[in-house]
């Protein structure tokens, strides 16, 4: 297995807050890597740096062996990295179908001034995509009329429509109703596996992490506190105490860094 994304020594501070305080991480080709950790640990900041929204103050990021540090979001998308957002970023005055079709158009070529966006081929692809996310019934609703869960899914669908090789998802299941969550994640995972997409996802639901992640990275105060297979990492008392919030009385403190696998 080779590393698709290599982050080395990423640092970024906002005033006194160290949102990234020396992040080293290899995302391996084809894996599903979950990121867990408390709010404010710097999970979103990592995704923002990897997708060009924020520029690290130190460190480097390489994708497929080539440096991408400091490139614009646009340039990074063109290399094959897409992302979805913790707060869904939809075109609120467009319908859900148009949102998805715009993503298809972004991939296929936006610069056509006369043929309609909803040309048959793109409309079909967009509709099929929405179907696989369980959004078919909402296709003709304006995006700002969706509930939070559906907005989240539409947001991910738009990232998937770009056909990335690496997809970074920021809390894909937050806001999705608990009853639907597992079904949706299963579909998402199937879609991504079929398309051989490598995925990194920030997740708060440990059941999702256990079932779908190949590895899990534990974020804590801008650092990676633990990294490895979910079964081992989630069983770690320190991780449970600090991150998941399950206090195990009397558990000995475990050194934070240097845990497991690929750090």
């Amino acid at each position: 297995m080779t590393a698709l994304l290599e982050a080395r020594g990423l640092r970024l501070a906002f005033g006194g807050v160290r949102a990234a305080d020396g992040i080293d991480l290899d995302v391996m080709q084809g894996e599903f890597l979950a990121i867990i950790g408390p709010n404010g640990a710097g999970k979103t900041t990592f995704i923002n740096m990897a997708t060009g929204y924020l520029r690290p103050q130190a460190g480097s990021i390489a994708y497929e062996g080539r440096p991408i540090t400091g490139l614009s979001p646009r340039a990074i998308v063109r290399r094959g990295i897409a992302r979805s957002f913790q707060l869904p970023q939809l075109f609120t005055e467009h319908t859900v179908l148009e949102n998805a079709a715009l993503a298809v158009a972004a991939r296929e070529g936006i610069w056509s001034p006369l043929a309609p966006l909803l040309r048959p081929r793109w409309r079909e692809e967009a509709a099929a995509l929405l179907g696989s996310f369980g959004l078919a019934a909402l296709a003709d609703i304006r995006a700002d009329a969706l509930n939070e869960g559906a907005r989240k899914l539409a947001d991910i669908a738009m990232a998937v429509a770009l056909r990335p090789r690496l997809l970074l998802m920021d809390e894909p299941t937050s806001g999705v109703a608990a009853a639907e969550k597992m079904g949706i994640v299963e579909t998402l995972v199937r879609v991504l596996r079929e398309a051989r997409v490598t995925a990194v996802f920030v997740e708060h639901d440990m059941e999702v992490v256990e079932r779908f992640a190949d590895r899990v990275a534990v974020w804590s105060q801008g650092r990676i506190a633990a990294l490895g297979p979910p079964a081992r990492v989630l069983a770690d008392p320190a991780v449970q105490r600090e991150v998941i919030g399950i206090e195990k009385a009397g558990a000995p403190p475990v050194p934070a860094a240097g845990e497991g696998g690929h750090a």
């Binding site: 997708t51 929204y53 614009s72 979001p73 646009r74 998308v77 063109r78 897409a82 992302r83 970023q89 939809l90 075109f91 609120t92 005055e93 467009h94 148009e98 079709a101 715009l102 993503a103 158009a105 972004a106 991939r107 070529g109 936006i110 610069w111 056509s112 001034p113 006369l114 043929a115 309609p116 966006l117 909803l118 738009m158 770009l162």
Partner: protein
């Protein structure tokens, strides 16, 4: 309503021809209205991106002065028009490369500022532009034919009508196409465009250049119709007038700006004749009412009526 647009546009065009036949002075008013409608259509494209240009009189006047300067040498209106269009487009590209970096109030004010710079150049460079006196435009030929005045006015009216239909058709397709839909995406979620690999600035730039082209053509038609250009064409009130027309007509469909322009010109002519100084107060009140009660403009009101009748 959308499906009915082409038919409605053709019907409106026919109605305008009839009106111009019935009352010859209307021909002049309607030609000017069509010219301003084109410019307002360009404003409307930018409105779709959530951007308001308070400086598009720059392109109208640039097109108009291009005609005035070149009329003695090029002579033919069907040469002057494309040359003026090309000049305005080129200026739109140069200015657009700069202003497309800005949004909202900065976008609006930069456009205003640039148009005011051009206004003062037109005023101050007397030996070139004849200052506030302006430049008279000799009667151009049409397809090499020297026409007498009335025939020429008919010809220019026809050209304006054809161009309005062409721009309307194009803008309608454009707004439905990926470029136009991405343009509307600038208004709601510009960052998403960037994260889809789409350069939002270029999307806005292409609409901007298109709007400059339309305004430039409008200016060329105004110059050939009034046959006299003055710096007032570039004054900020002229830019404001275009925004007024676009909002009055409504940004919901490509007929809106033309509806707004015809209404505006007719109210202006009638009200000015009857009420002299009060016509601006009337227009102001109308705009206020539109903004408060019919944000979709006249076109939005028509569309709503249409829907209700079909539902009934």
């Amino acid at each position: 309503m959308r499906r009915a647009e082409p038919l409605l546009a053709l019907a409106a065009a026919a109605a305008m021809v009839v009106a111009a036949l019935a009352a010859p002075w209307l021909k002049f008013v309607l030609t000017i209205a069509l010219a301003k409608g084109m410019a307002a259509l360009g404003i409307m494209l930018l409105l779709r991106a959530g951007q308001v240009s308070f400086g598009h009189a720059l392109y109208v006047s640039f097109g108009a002065y291009t005609v005035a300067f070149l009329a003695p040498t090029l002579r033919d209106s069907l040469l002057l028009l494309p040359v003026a269009a090309a000049m305005a487009t080129a200026l739109g590209l140069v200015v657009g490369l700069f202003v497309s970096r800005y949004r909202q109030i900065f976008f609006g004010m930069l456009n205003l500022a640039l148009s005011m710079v051009f206004f003062s150049l037109l005023e101050k460079l007397y030996h070139i532009t004849h200052g506030t006196d302006g430049i008279r435009v000799a009667l151009p030929t049409m397809l090499g034919q020297a026409l007498e005045r009335t025939s020429f006015e008919w010809a220019i009216f026809g050209v304006a009508l054809a161009l309005a239909l062409l721009f309307g058709w194009f803008a309608r397709a454009y707004l439905d196409a990926p470029m136009g839909q991405a343009l509307a995406g600038i208004k709601t979620r510009e960052t998403r465009l960037e994260f889809m690999g789409v350069p939002a600035r270029h999307v806005l730039l292409s609409a901007y250049v298109l709007s400059a082209l339309m305004a430039g053509c409008g200016g060329a038609i105004i110059a050939m119709t009034t046959r006299h250009v003055t710096p007032l064409l570039a004054y900020w009130t002229a830019s404001g007038e275009l925004v007024f027309i676009a909002i009055l007509g409504g940004a919901g469909g490509v007929i809106g700006p033309f509806l707004g322009a015809v209404t505006y010109e007719l109210v202006r002519v009638y009200a000015a004749a009857i009420l002299a100084e009060a016509w601006q107060a009337i227009l102001g009140t109308v705009l206020l009412l539109v903004i408060l009660f019919a944000p979709g403009g006249l076109w939005g009101m028509l569309a709503a009526l249409f829907r209700r009748r079909r539902a009934a």
